[in-house]
Every structure is written in structure tokens, then in C-alpha cells.
């Protein structure tokens, strides 16, 4: 592994670009999901009237919000997987290929 020049890969503008895009995307999604999750216990505790409001028959806002937590969690996972499969993997593979070539 000593043959690999890690500093060179790190300095590669393509790696910098991958890193920047990935970080912004990942931590952005992470913050959204944490905020959305904690809205559920906070809402249930401090906004009970809103949670009790009936929306469709006996189905109230609280139930819909709890179901939406599942949809949002799955949605974030789906968005991330799509982006990573389509974009990050290709960039990483390109950097990986060139780095291995350079190491030989």
C-alpha cells in the first residue's frame, strides 16, 4: 500500500469535487431527517390539539404525521441511493482507476 500516493489523490480536483458534493448532500439530508424525526415527539407533546385534529374520518393529523415519518425516511434513503448510484460511484470509480494506474 506504500505505493499509493494518498496526498496526490487528496489533492486531485476531482476528488475535492466529489468530497465537496458528497459532504454537502449527506449532511444536508442528515440534518433534514433528524429535524423531521424530532418534530414527532415534540409535536405529540406540545402541539396535542393539532395532532388530534381529524383530517379524514377518524384519521387525525397525528396519525398522518407518524405515517409521513416512514415516507420521509424511505424517501431520504431513496434519494441518497439514487444520487450515490448515479453520481458518487462513477466519480469514485474514475478516481480509483486513475489512482491505481498512477500507483503502478
Amino acid at each position: 500500500m506504500s505505493t499509493m500516493n494518498w496526498a496526490a489523490v487528496n489533492a486531485d480536483p476531482r476528488f475535492q469535487d466529489l468530497h465537496r458534493r458528497k459532504s454537502r448532500f449527506l449532511w444536508g439530508l442528515m440534518i433534514i431527517s433528524v429535524i423531521y424525526y424530532f418534530m414527532l415527539p415534540i409535536g405529540a407533546a406540545y402541539f396535542t390539539d393539532l395532532f388530534k385534529t381529524k383530517v379524514w374520518g377518524v384519521i387525525n393529523f397525528g396519525l398522518i404525521f407518524a405515517w409521513s415519518e416512514f415516507i420521509v425516511a424511505w424517501g431520504i434513503a431513496w434519494i441518497y441511493a439514487r444520487k450515490a448510484n448515479a453520481e458518487f460511484d462513477a466519480l469514485a470509480a474514475e478516481i480509483n482507476r486513475d489512482a491505481m494506474k498512477g500507483a503502478k
Binding site: M1, M4, W6, A7, V9, N10, F15, L18, H19, K22, L26, L29, M30, S33, V34, Y37, F38, L40, P41, I42, A44, A45, Y46, T48, F51, K52, K54, W56, G57, V58, I59, N60, G62, L63, A66, W67, E69, F70, A73, W74, I76, A77, W78, Y80, A81, A84, N85, D89, A92, I95, N96, A99, M100
Partner: protein
């Protein structure tokens, strides 16, 4: 806090006289054994096949990195859906409605953290254990020692709760003695781990997860069928159900008298019947959302797949399975509340853990039908398989920490042959397994309720800050992770020791004495009803009342006797110092803060030098450990 109460109920549930034989009627017990025998036979066959493949350390710890993303997704779900979440959440919903369902959300959201910031980097730079990740750029011996201690502590907490909960569960379901079921769980689990390593453990998780999902789908299908699979129809039936209305009236007490029947039913779909303290709720949520990603047996699962992309796929699948399962629990819980009734569910197990199994029995045709007992037998067997599988995953994680991190990494200085390492791993598994069995037996009847939540809190306050900052913060170093992991774990444990989770003898006496005092009057009243009962049905119902009243007194007296002569808790307190049951909200930020402070105390050459390599590798997968040819 709900995990605690759920497991408290599991751990302290006393089998009622009428239920001494377990929930499965004696004449159908053979069915449970048959179903469970088939499951054991299947998993043993898989273990036999796996044992022939497990020759190298990579096979033993990481299944040769040849598990596919989809398989690993099912295995993660298998590792995660423990008896507490499988039976406990359906039970909470059956007793408390909306709050039980809300509680399940955090268990799914936890995987967002795993997916976004943990799974792929760990796959790219890790080898077999948490210790390998921390040792990448920190002092290897110190990092591995810390990681191993933390892994073993977290696993033992989690494992003890599983063993004790499992023993009680099996006793309640099929009436097998507590000690026998603990030993059975231990021996079976050891067979999987010792002979089949990660290969067998993975397949046991997959088999168990598939069975669990199949059982739930079956139950939901038959529960929802009478309502034509209409969601509003099903929920309207729940709101207008007299059993649910009676349960809400019981939970609310006096305020319920001014409410109409429909209002009472509707109240079941609104928050606040169970979770009373929002800060505790948020604290538990933090421990779940951040702790799952620090659970050693979950982390380990990402070393079994060939690439980071497969690690990603496996979390996506795990989220689909786990989330789908939790969505179904709403139907299981409400279905059990309508068809079985909260009073009957709570009579067998105060925490509601029997809601799912009793619903299965009802759907099949009831207590005395063949099909009802077959369904119950199936669910009981799946519950047993669940405990065995979860314990196997935990034992494998701690055994790997012992053999790979401590023995090979620290003691032998990374010089061990494949044969030596595999042998060390097998011996470690036996040691951990025997410890698990012994703790399980010693902890009989103990309040181990807080241990699951504590395991997550320690993982979130100790492992996660260390892993996350090692992966993403340039200045992080050995001093930081040693300080952070120590302070994080000790704070979490220390806060629980002085929290309301512990047993305070004076409090126990104050709560249970009134039950004992009121007992004779209640028993007399029930006996009076029995004396004038008109027919067999009324007589049976009255007899049950008498038995329940007697059992309540026996149970309360047993709790008082258990603390006889004591005035203080295990750490010498008469009353809790803090009202918080979940330490996460304090210990997690403190864990992160201490990694930061420790790291800033001084620079380390290796931590700085290895940063570029770590950062490039975790993002690109260059030099990631590949799969073995097979």
C-alpha cells in the same frame, strides 16, 4: 422509556396460576415443538453447510465478504427486530394506541444515520470489527482495547436483556422452565456461532427475518380482511370498539366519565396515553437514532458485503423491511386490542408482549381450535428463533472483539496465523456464550428493563462519537477517542445508576403494599361472584377473576419480599437523583465534546499522517478489503 417498561413487564411478568402451562394449551404444545423443531432443523442444516466453508478469519468474522446487499439487508433486519421490537411494539399499541405506534418510528429513522454516514465508510476502511475502524489512524493498541471493552459492555447489556426477556417469554408462551429456556437459547446460539461463524449467523438472521415478516403479513392479512382492506374502515372499527373504549376509560380514570363512547375510542388514536415525559422521549430518540449506528453487531454486518455499494443496498433493504414491519405493527396492535382485548392481553403479560401471539390464536379460531393453536405455535416458535438469532449476533460481535482486537491485535501484536485466529475466535465465542448463559440464569427475576435502552445510550455516547470523528474530523486522535469513549460510556451508565430505573426499596413498598392490602377484599368479591355464577361460562369467568386477584397479591408480595430489609438502591440511594430515565440527552453531547477536547490536547503524528489515506479510502474504496474467491 417505553423499552424499559416493556422489558420490565417482560422480566417481571409472573405466570398466572391459570396460565401456568403457558399461553399454548397443553394438548397443542406438540405443535409448537414441531414448528420450532423444523426451524431448528433448517438453521442447523445451514450451520452444517456453513461450517465446511469457515476456515479463514475472513470467513469466520465477515462471511468471506460474499454476502449480497439484499441478503445483508434481511440479516440486518433479523439482527435488529429483537423480541422487544417484534412483540413489544405490537403490545404497546394494543394497550396504549397511538403512543405505541409513535414509539416505533425512531427505530426506523436510526437507519438514516447508518446509511448516510456510517455504512459505506466503514465498509471501505474496516476489516472485521469496530476496533479496526478506530485503529486506522489512532494508536492501534489503545484504540482496539477501548473498542473491545466498549463492544463487550454494550453487547453484555443488550444480551442480558434478551436472555432474561427471552426466558420469561418462552415460559409465558409454552410453560418451559426459565433456566431450561435460557440454556436452550445459549446452546443453540453457540452451535451457530462456533461452528458456522458469520456465515451461519447471517443465514440464521435471514431465515428468522423472513419467518417474522411472513408471520406478520399473515396476521395482518386476516386482521384487515373483515374490513375489506379499507384503512378508514379498519380505524373506524377500532374507534367504535367497546373493548378499546373500555381500555381508554381505564387509562384515563376520572376524566373519562364525561366523554362519550366515540370520544373514548378516538382518544386511542391520539397521543399521550403512555408517553408522559417529552424530554425522556427525546432523550431515548437520540439514543436510538445515534446508537444504532454505534452498535457493534450492526457495524459488523457491513464487513460481510463485497463493496460499499452493497453496504448501501443492504441498508436500503433493511430500511424497507424494518419500516414495513413497523407499519404493520399498527394493524397487529389495534387488531389485538379489538379482537383479544387489552384486559386479556395485560392479564397474561402486563407489558402487552403477548398481543401478537394472542391475536394469532384468535385469528386461527380461538383458544380451543387446532388452527388457532397452530398459528400461536408458529408465532411462539418465531419469537424463540428471534431471541436465539439476536443473541447469536451479539455473541459473535463480542467474541470478535475479544479474539481479533484483544488477542491478535493487542496481545499477539497482529502476528497470528489464520488457524490460530479462527481457533481464538471460536474459544472466545464459547467464553462469551457461557457468560451469557450464566448472566441469564443469575438475572432471573431481576429488573433488566433499562438495559436495552442503556446499550443504545452507551453505543451513542461512546462508540458513535469516536467512529464519526475518526472518520470525518482531521484533528481527531487517540487521546480524543479514549477520553470521549470513557466519559461517554461512564456518564451513560452512571446516570442510569442514579435514575428511576433502579429498584428503590421504599418506592417498591409504597407501590405494592396497597395492592396487598386491597387483595383480600378483591378476592372475597370475586369469590362471591363465583358462588352465584349461573352457568359454566359465568363460572369460568368468575374463576378467572379469583385467580387474577390472587395472582396480583402474590405478585405484589413477591416484589415486597424481594426488597425486604433494604432501604437503598444498589448505589446506596433512597430515591433517584434525577428524573431522567434515558441518559442520552446528557451523555451523547458529552461524549462528542470529550472527543473534541481530548483531541485538541495535543497532536499525534500517526493520526495526522493517516488522515489523507483514511479520507481518500473511505470516499473512494481504493484498497478496500475485497471478497475471497470461493
Amino acid at each position: 422509556m417505553s423499552t424499559q417498561r416493556m422489558l420490565l413487564a417482560l422480566a417481571t411478568a409472573l405466570p398466572l396460576p391459570a396460565m401456568a402451562q403457558g399461553a399454548v394449551s397443553p394438548e397443542y404444545k406438540w405443535l409448537t415443538f414441531l414448528v420450532f423443531g423444523l426451524i431448528i432443523a433448517l438453521t442447523m442444516f445451514v450451520t452444517y453447510l456453513a461450517a465446511r466453508r469457515v476456515k479463514s478469519a475472513q470467513q469466520f468474522y465477515a462471511a468471506g465478504r460474499s454476502v449480497t446487499g439484499i441478503q445483508n439487508g434481511w440479516a440486518i433486519a433479523g439482527d435488529y427486530l429483537s423480541a422487544a421490537s417484534f412483540l413489544g411494539i405490537a403490545g404497546l399499541i394494543s394497550l396504549y394506541g397511538y403512543d405505541g405506534f409513535m414509539y416505533s418510528v425512531g427505530w426506523l429513522v436510526a437507519y438514516i444515520t447508518v446509511l448516510l454516514v456510517i455504512a459505506e465508510p466503514c465498509r471501505n476502511i474496516g476489516k472485521y470489527t469496530l476496533g479496526d475502524i478506530l485503529a486506522f489512524r489512532n494508536d492501534p493498541k489503545k484504540a482496539k482495547t477501548m473498542a473491545a471493552i466498549s463492544t463487550i459492555v454494550v453487547s453484555i447489556f443488550y444480551l442480558t436483556a434478551q436472555m432474561v426477556g427471552g426466558g420469561v417469554l418462552v415460559k409465558t408462551l409454552i410453560g418451559i422452565d426459565y433456566e431450561v429456556s435460557v440454556i436452550a437459547v445459549g446452546v443453540l446460539m453457540l452451535a451457530y456461532v462456533v461452528f458456522g461463524g458469520m456465515v451461519a449467523t447471517t443465514w440464521v438472521q435471514i431465515i428468522k427475518a423472513v419467518l417474522l415478516v411472513a408471520a406478520s403479513l399473515l396476521l395482518v392479512f386476516f386482521t384487515w380482511l373483515p374490513y375489506g382492506f379499507s384503512l378508514p374502515g379498519f380505524l373506524e372499527a377500532a374507534v367504535s370498539d367497546p373493548k378499546i373504549q373500555a381500555q381508554v376509560a381505564k387509562l384515563l380514570g376520572d376524566p373519562a366519565t364525561s366523554m362519550t363512547a366515540t370520544e373514548l375510542g378516538q382518544r386511542f388514536l391520539e397521543p399521550g396515553l403512555y408517553l408522559k415525559n417529552p424530554i425522556d422521549q427525546i432523550s431515548l430518540g437520540m439514543a436510538l437514532v445515534l446508537g444504532t449506528a454505534g452498535m457493534p453487531h450492526i457495524l459488523m454486518r457491513f464487513f460481510t458485503v463485497p463493496t460499499a455499494k452493497d453496504a448501501r443496498t443492504s441498508v436500503i433493504w433493511a430500511m424497507a423491511i424494518i419500516g414495513g414491519f413497523y407499519v404493520l405493527t399498527l394493524f397487529l396492535g389495534l387488531g389485538a386490542a379489538m379482537n383479544v382485548g387489552a384486559s386479556k392481553i395485560a392479564a397474561i403479560d402486563a407489558g402487552g408482549n403477548m398481543a401478537g401471539p394472542l391475536l394469532a390464536q384468535y385469528i386461527g379460531g380461538g383458544e380451543n381450535s387446532m388452527l388457532g393453536n397452530l398459528f400461536l405455535a408458529f408465532v411462539a416458535a418465531v419469537a424463540f428463533a428471534t431471541i436465539v438469532a439476536v443473541v447469536a449476533g451479539l455473541v459473535l460481535a463480542s467474541a470478535s472483539a475479544m479474539s481479533h482486537d484483544i488477542w491478535v491485535g493487542v496481545i499477539k501484536g497482529e502476528h497470528a496465523t489464520q488457524e490460530e485466529e479462527v481457533r481464538a475466535a471460536r474459544i472466545s465465542s464459547i467464553i462469551v456464550g457461557v457468560i451469557a448463559i450464566v448472566i441469564g440464569i443469575l438475572a432471573k427475576g431481576q429488573n433488566v428493563a433499562h438495559l436495552v435502552a442503556l446499550a443504545f445510550a452507551v453505543a451513542a455516547s461512546s462508540n458513535l462519537p469516536a467512529v464519526l470523528l475518526t472518520l470525518y474530523w482531521k484533528r481527531c486522535n487517540t487521546k480524543g477517542i479514549v477520553l470521549g469513549m470513557t466519559v461517554g460510556a461512564l456518564t451513560a451508565i452512571g446516570l442510569v445508576m442514579v435514575s428511576p430505573n433502579m429498584t428503590y426499596p421504599n418506592v417498591v413498598r409504597a407501590t405494592n403494599q396497597p395492592i396487598v392490602d386491597a387483595g383480600p377484599a378483591k378476592i372475597a368479591a370475586a369469590e362471591a361472584t363465583l358462588a352465584v355464577a349461573a352457568d359454566d361460562t359465568a363460572r369460568a369467568a368468575a374463576q378467572k377473576q379469583v385467580d387474577n386477584a390472587k395472582a396480583a397479591v402474590v405478585g405484589a408480595q413477591a416484589k415486597i419480599d424481594a426488597v425486604a430489609g433494604q432501604t437503598t438502591s444498589i448505589v446506596g440511594l433512597e430515591a433517584p437523583l434525577i428524573s431522567l430515565k434515558n441518559p442520552g440527552i446528557i451523555s451523547i453531547p458529552l461524549g462528542f465534546l470529550c472527543v473534541l477536547i481530548g483531541s485538541l490536547l495535543g497532536r499525534e503524528k500517526r493520526s495526522d499522517d493517516m488522515w489523507e489515506e483514511l479520507y481518500v479510502r473511505q470516499n473512494t474504496g481504493i484498497h478496500a478489503e475485497g471478497a475471497t474467491a470461493h
